[in-house]
């Protein structure tokens, strides 16, 4: 760090009331989490990658191209992430104090940028290293190839960090560039010429499979790209706009504060897009009955954040396909089903603004001329229609290819139950004070874990519903039990709405 920002940073850090005991406890927690959670997960990941199924996936003929496509997707995601939360960010007060001084931005933001960059490079290097090591361990690649691919991973991380920063400094350009990168990478999958002349194609060429060493041109291209990425960082930092950076900093602080308080819903709300388009289109058209009016109003309301809606619909389709494949796959597909449940739950967010509004109204003094129940049902019609339509369509695609109709019923069950879960989440309310009561036990205070479970209940239920929908026809009681559990939670929250 340059000496000049040090006094401001020292004052900022002096606010902290963390004692040595707190630091020791944090260290204990980190070690415990590493031993209890991270190590088993890493072991399971290694066993999965080096197992028969993992190796089969890593050694398919399309694996190198897929690796390139993943890298293109990572760079595109980094660009998009920068629009919302860039790597050059400080806490709001520190940002104001330093960014309004005469210090150059490359000095002000060097620390956070280096920290974010180190994290991204570590993740990319780790992923590439794990892939290379798995292939070398099973004899599909040499140790040299694995090492080279690990270095490629680090280079990918450097470029991703620069893309992340570019998304922050050029938010308007970032979206079309990200779409272009993904489109070009997807379109170039079948074109060897494009593979050899694109950065993600170079990653594919360096994939450690077979005996041929990676082409020097590909490696040189990636090194050059990473050098350019590092070289443009000062110029990118100088393009940072104080006002937009301050907005990002404030949102990030609000989101992290909510998340640390286990208010994950509130944290997500911070990043929910506010509408800016479609104001000239009348969303409310009375005259055809209130049911139609609410359906149209919800449809136009959702379309007023078009990007969010499109992403939601695409995710819904992906979730439906995943569920379908989980149902027809010969092995136990509950894990894939749980992933489908999570994706479908997240995808229904843009469609359920009306449900959340109805829940807020139900907890307040009467606003509409219809009862709370009818209001909630009215706002549920559009999401129900869209979710069932998209999920069943995806299931039909899988059913036709697998000559198995089971995914259609599973899709309908998942769609309806997920919407019920959304209603439950909308009615959830704040953390019940009773959960803040500490309880001593030989294992410590279990209420901390209970509070985390309470905060994450939506995701947990979504995963359980997805897994149950996968085995629905073989074990209908599991699906009925999951749906009944969610319905019970909804009924309980409905009765106790304020």
């Amino acid at each position: 760090m340059s000496p000049r920002p040090r006094p401001a940073v020292a004052i900022w850090r002096a606010r902290s009331t963390t004692t040595t005991g707190d630091r020791l406890y944090l260290g204990y927690l980190l070690v415990a989490v590493a031993g209890v959670v991270v190590a088993p997960l890493a072991r399971a990941l290694w066993q999965g990658l080096t197992g028969a199924e993992g190796i089969a996936a890593l050694t398919t003929s399309t694996a190198p191209a897929s690796a390139g496509l993943i890298v293109a997707a990572v760079w595109a995601a980094a660009l998009l992430l920068g629009r919302e939360r860039g790597p050059a960010l400080l806490p709001p007060f520190l940002l104001h104090a330093l960014a309004t001084s005469d210090l150059p931005y490359r000095v002000v933001f060097r620390g956070p940028l280096l920290r974010c960059g180190a994290l991204v490079v570590a993740i990319c290097t780790g992923a590439a290293g794990l892939t290379g090591a798995s292939l070398a361990h099973r004899g599909f690649a040499s140790a040299e190839q694995a090492v080279v691919f690990t270095i490629v991973g680090a280079l990918v991380g450097v470029v991703a960090t620069a893309a992340w920063l570019a998304g922050q400094t050029h938010p308007r350009v970032a979206l079309p560039v990200a779409i272009g990168v993904v489109a070009l990478a997807s379109g170039g999958l079948s074109s060897p010429a494009l593979q050899a002349s694109t950065p993600w194609g170079w990653v594919g060429l360096a994939y450690p499979l077979g005996t041929a060493p990676p082409p020097p041109g590909a490696l040189a291209g990636l090194v050059a790209l990473a050098l350019v990425a590092v070289a443009v960082v000062p110029a990118l930092l100088s393009r940072l706009r104080p006002a937009e950076t301050a907005v990002q900093a404030a949102r990030w602080q609000a989101a992290t504060s909510s998340a640390l308080g286990t208010e994950f819903g509130a944290a997500a709300t911070v990043y929910r897009k506010a509408p800016h388009v479609g104001r000239r289109v009348r969303a409310v058209r009375p005259g055809h009955g209130l049911g139609v009016a609410f359906f149209v109003r919800d449809a136009i309301g959702a379309a007023r954040t078009p990007g969010r809606l499109v992403v939601g619909l695409i995710a819904l389709g992906v979730g439906g396909l995943l569920l379908g494949y989980a149902v027809v796959s010969p092995g136990p597909g509950w894990l894939l089903g749980a992933a489908a449940g999570l994706i479908v739950f997240a995808a229904t967010g843009p469609l359920t603004d009306g449900i959340r509004h109805a829940a807020a109204v139900a907890a307040d003094v009467p606003l509409y001329g219809i009862g709370d129940g009818r209001l909630l049902v009215s706002h549920s019609m559009l999401p129900l229609a869209v979710v069932v339509l998209v999920l069943v369509s995806a299931a039909v695609v899988v059913s036709l290819s697998a000559a198995n109709g089971a995914p259609i019923l599973s899709a309908m069950a998942l769609g309806v139950t997920t919407l019920l879960l959304r209603v439950g989440q909308a009615l959830k309310g704040p953390l019940p004070p009773v959960l803040l009561t500490p309880i001593s036990s030989p294992m410590g205070d279990p209420m901390a874990a209970v509070r985390v479970l309470w905060a994450l209940d939506g995701l947990l239920f979504a995963a359980v519903i997805g897994a149950a929908a996968t085995v629905g026809l073989d074990a209908p009681l599991a699906l009925l039990a999951a749906a009944g559990l969610v319905a019970g939670v909804v009924a309980q929250r409905w009765r106790h709405r304020a």
Binding site: H276, P286, A293, G301, T305, D364, V365
Partner: protein, 208 residues
């Protein structure tokens, strides 16, 4: 219309609202005054049915207070804090939707339009809630509550966030409801607003 008899609220050993008895008839406006913590908002919550009194009884038009009862919902409109606002609806959309649930759909448009005009919000009809200033948001909240028929109107500190000019607009709108035969109960710290609408005053003092 409103008959509160010995209504009080206490919780955890603290008195939020000392016993209050008051009767307000049709076409009357009761202005509730008192310092912070005197129990003004608590009294309004009790009258609106969002808080149960620990003692005493409230009857509105002879019936018990029950916000889930259809008749009560139709008779009583209230604004205690800002009402929930749909983030994906414009100001005009939202007021029209509320009106369409209360009156015949063919007349909802004219009702919504007249309320927006009365509160000076017509020019802001195409804005989304997050694009309004704090004062405009206050007026929007009031528009949502006024875009419906009612016999009783309960409003808590409508002067919040408003400049004197818009406070006068709100005063005129509330007075028009009173003159139209509605029963008003308004808690306020604003002397000009109180003088503009009130013909009876209830002074609450913090409980000892």
């Amino acid at each position: 219309m409103i008959d509160a008899d010995g209504v009080a609220v206490a919780t955890g050993g603290s008195t939020l609202l000392p016993p209050v008895s008051v009767v307000v008839g049709p076409g009357e406006a009761l202005v509730v005054r008192g310092g912070n913590g005197a129990g003004k908002t608590t009294l309004l919550r009790v009258l609106a049915g969002s808080r149960r009194p620990t003692s005493g009884v409230v009857r509105i038009d002879g019936d018990a207070v029950d916000p889930r009862d259809r008749g009560f919902r139709r008779r009583v409109a209230s604004m205690i804090g800002l009402p929930p606002m749909a983030p994906d609806l414009t100001v005009a959309d939202h007021v029209l939707l509320v009106a369409a649930t209360w009156v015949d759909e063919s007349t909802a448009g004219s009702l919504a339009g007249s309320v927006l005009a009365e509160l000076g919000l017509s020019a802001l009809g195409r804005r989304f809630p997050h694009e309004l200033s704090s004062g405009q948001t206050q007026l929007f909240g009031l528009a949502l509550v006024l875009a419906r028929p009612f016999d009783v109107l309960i409003v808590d500190e409508p002067e919040q966030r408003l400049d004197p000019e818009h406070l006068e607009v709100v005063g005129r709108a509330l007075r028009a409801r009173r003159d139209g035969g509605a029963t008003l109960v308004v808690a306020t710290h604003s002397r000009p607003l109180a003088e503009a609408i009130g013909d009876r005053f209830l002074q609450l003092d913090p409980a000892a």
